[in-house]
């Protein structure tokens, strides 16, 4: 009976979460971006549901890549990593011990970040070096200079983001650890059930702000979208994905939006994603609120270069450290 209940809870939570996540990109674009920009915007089902379905039935084109199979597999690996991330947030999976801990979450998020680096370095689109143009024959000002694809630039940026860009979200994760004194999700939730949500403390508020900025950076959303800045690297690591592989990219992004919001609800509100619990509604509300706030912020921001990115990350990281200190006190 317990096993059946747990299986229903886990599978049900995964399925409902996935279905809700399909609407998030549409909500972000239709109800926020389009409304702010005074245009009609796409149908709500278009970015998250109809676009992936359309791409699934498109002809598969082999990309120009040194390792095309690996390159094509990366979006699917990303999606699996995000699903696993959600899986370990569900209370019925807490028996796995260390896998249902902050350390494991940090590890899975890192894997997700590293994917962008691989995608960028394996993509060789026609939009830069491979573009046939007469100046190839005529030479250039500096003919001995090695030529680089724009995706390589994007890969380099992904590496830098791993190094410093993801500081805010990881620091925010450890606010709840500092507050509860445990790395395990089960302990963090139990603490909040007794003492109330961490969000309603000074450390929690500061941590929530830091988490949200980290959420935007991890999702490469404006103004932190230097990884896929249109003025130079265009779509960055995703540039060459077509057909079902692009569908995976879309699905992963929507699902990651949901999972990160769920992670916030778990760490700062003490509500784990569980369809069998009425509090799951709060998780859904948080999952809806996060993309909406993010969309408002991104609609009013230009894309940041490092000149703006570094100080922002530094300031937010300092705020995160202060939140940890406040939590320890």
């Amino acid at each position: 009976m317990d096993l059946t209940y747990s299986l229903i809870a886990v599978i049900g939570t995964l399925v409902v979460s996935f279905m809700v996540s399909l609407f998030l990109p549409g909500i972000e674009r239709k109800f926020i971006h389009a409304r702010i920009q005074q245009r009609v915007g796409p149908p709500i089902t278009s970015p998250g549901i109809m676009a992936p379905i359309k791409f699934f039935f498109k002809q598969t084109i082999n990309p120009e890549s040194p390792m095309p199979r690996l390159y094509n597999a990366l979006p699917l690996i990303s999606l699996i990593v995000v699903i696993i991330l959600l899986l370990f947030l569900i209370p019925q999976m807490y028996f796995l011990g260390a896998l249902a801990s902050i350390i494991a979450i940090v590890g899975f998020l890192k894997v997700e970040e590293v994917m962008y680096m691989f995608m960028g370095s394996l993509s060789k689109s026609v939009l830069s070096v491979r573009m046939p143009f007469p100046d190839m024959a005529k030479g250039a000002k500096h003919p001995e200079t090695p030529r680089s694809f724009v995706e390589e630039l994007s890969s380099l940026r992904a590496f830098r983001l791993i190094a410093f860009g993801s500081f805010p979200i990881y620091i925010a994760l450890f606010v709840s650890v500092a507050k509860t004194g445990s790395l395990y999700l089960s302990d963090i939730i139990a603490y909040q059930q007794i003492h109330g949500p961490i969000l309603f403390s000074l450390a929690g508020v500061m941590g929530a702000v830091v988490f949200f900025i980290g959420y935007m950076i991890l999702l490469n959303e404006y103004p932190f979208s230097i990884l896929k800045a249109k003025p130079d690297v265009i779509e960055g690591p995703y540039l060459e994905y077509a057909s079902k592989y692009r569908a995976y990219v879309y699905l992963t992004r929507g699902f990651l939006m949901f999972v990160l919001a769920t992670l916030f609800a778990t760490l700062f509100l003490g509500i784990a994603p569980n369809i069998m619990n009425i509090n799951f509604i709060i998780t859904l509300i948080v999952a809806l609120l996060f993309p909406m706030i993010m969309a408002v912020m991104s609609a009013f921001s230009p894309v940041f270069t490092y000149k703006q990115f570094y100080p922002t990350v530094a300031a937010v990281s300092i705020l995160g450290v202060l939140a940890i200190v406040a939590a320890l006190l």
């Binding site: 971006h33 702010i36 920009q37 005074q38 245009r39 939009l127 830069s128 070096v129 573009m131 143009f133 100046d135 250039a140 000002k141 500096h142 003919p143 001995e144 200079t145 090695p146 030529r147 680089s148 694809f149 724009v150 390589e152 630039l153 380099l156 404006y222 103004p223 979208s225 230097i226 800045a229 249109k230 003025p231 130079d232 265009i234 609609a299 009013f300 921001s301 230009p302 894309v303 940041f304 270069t305 490092y306 000149k307 703006q308």
Partner: protein, 375 residues
């Protein structure tokens, strides 16, 4: 830039972009030589969109050739046909009625407004600020509606003809009233946008000190139009054009020569354009709008320069049996290419397109040349 060329240094990496690139509205090739994502040198190549308009104009009756010039550019179509007509009018000593001159000025300033709004919207889009971009396109619609009302079309108005303007561009009381209302609305909306724009710290951080062109370099690189004026040089051909003599307006200049100056330059020029249009509407003289009493004759090469939204536009041709000979057209973007390359250097690669866009490129109308192979 020149030192690098002479020394042919090996730079860390070359990042080629285009001629197909989403941030570039028009096709051009850009090779950026970067070190740690900072542009150390840049090389820009245009010429992938040449249509040989000058060659097509060769031998055409001057009236037809004038109509053809309007197709050169989708943004400054009126500027081309006006300058082409102006060239013939100078050559053939055609006196243009005063009312027609006023209508031409209204069309030109409306075109300046829509061109500058398009420039600002494109700049904001490259900046990554889609909301500002959309807002500007929304504001621009007022101008487009007015142009459509006068010319019967939003892009190719066909207003100027030899000796005046087309009858369909006649401005009656209703049209004048609509133009006045449009200017009031535009002034209000552009003011609101400008206030919002300059008070946005994130936008200001992105555009201040980026794409810097000093006054000395702007003169050395032979910049023209607002690109030159944004470096502090008060050079505006409208001050010496006889058509603009009745109008009171200021030549706007900015001092810094960066993207911020270039963007604000266009915002302030919009207010001047509104001022000129209001004066033209208020003082619009009565009388005919076309002078048909002129005679065709053979004339040697005649030149005409006018100030268009992007700078100085040059048209020249000779007339032989009523047909165009030796036509040469030079658009302002041609003069600004050097500045575009130069402005990229020393800045982050993400700012490279922004540094180019700040000079308001229009390469589709710049690509005049024809490459003749196997003569």
């Amino acid at each position: 830039m020149d030192d690098n060329k002479q020394n042919r240094k090996v730079i860390e990496a070359e990042v080629p972009m285009g001629p197909v690139h989403p941030a570039a509205l028009e096709p051009y090739r850009l090779r950026l030589f970067v070190e740690d994502e900072i542009v150390r040198d840049a090389e820009m190549t245009v010429g992938v969109n040449h249509r040989g308009v000058e060659r097509i104009m060769e031998g055409l009756p001057v009236e037809k050739a004038n109509s053809l010039t309007e197709k050169i550019c989708g943004i400054c179509s009126n500027s081309h046909i006006w300058n082409s007509c102006r060239t013939a009018e100078i050559a053939l000593d055609i006196e243009v009625p005063e009312r027609a001159i006023y209508i031409r000025i209204i069309m030109e300033e409306l075109e300046r407004l829509h061109s500058h709004m398009l420039y600002l919207a494109h700049g904001c889009e490259v900046l990554g600020h889609e909301t500002f971009s959309m807002r500007l396109f929304y504001i621009r619609e007022t101008v487009m509606d007015l142009l459509g009302m006068i010319g019967g079309n939003r892009v190719q108005y066909g207003s100027a003809v030899l000796g005046g303007v087309r009858p369909r561009c006649e401005l009656d009381e209703m049209r004048l009233q609509k133009i006045t209302e449009g200017m009031d609305l535009l002034e209000e909306k552009i003011s609101a946008f400008a206030d919002r724009f300059v008070s946005d710290p994130m936008v200001m951080s992105r555009i201040t000190g980026v794409g810097l062109i000093s006054q000395k370099d702007a003169l050395r690189l032979a910049c023209t139009g607002p690109t030159l004026r944004a470096t502090g040089v008060a050079n505006d051909l409208r001050t010496v054009m006889f058509e603009y003599d009745p109008f009171d307006f200021d030549v706007i200049t900015q001092d810094d020569g960066d993207v911020k100056s270039q963007l604000l330059m266009r915002v302030f020029e919009n207010f001047e354009a509104i001022k000129i249009i209001r004066q033209a509407v208020r003082d619009l003289p009565e009388g005919p709008i076309t002078n048909r009493s002129w005679e065709m004759k053979d004339v040697p090469l005649t030149k005409s320069y006018i100030e268009v939204p992007r700078g100085t536009l040059y048209h020249s041709y000779a007339l032989e049996d009523g047909r165009v000979r030796n036509c040469v057209i030079r658009t302002p973007s041609m003069a600004n290419i050097g500045a575009m390359q130069y402005a990229c250097i020393g800045h982050h690669i993400t700012d490279a397109q922004l540094s180019i866009v700040q000079c308001d490129p229009c390469f589709t109308c710049t690509d005049r040349a024809i490459e003749i192979i196997n003569i």
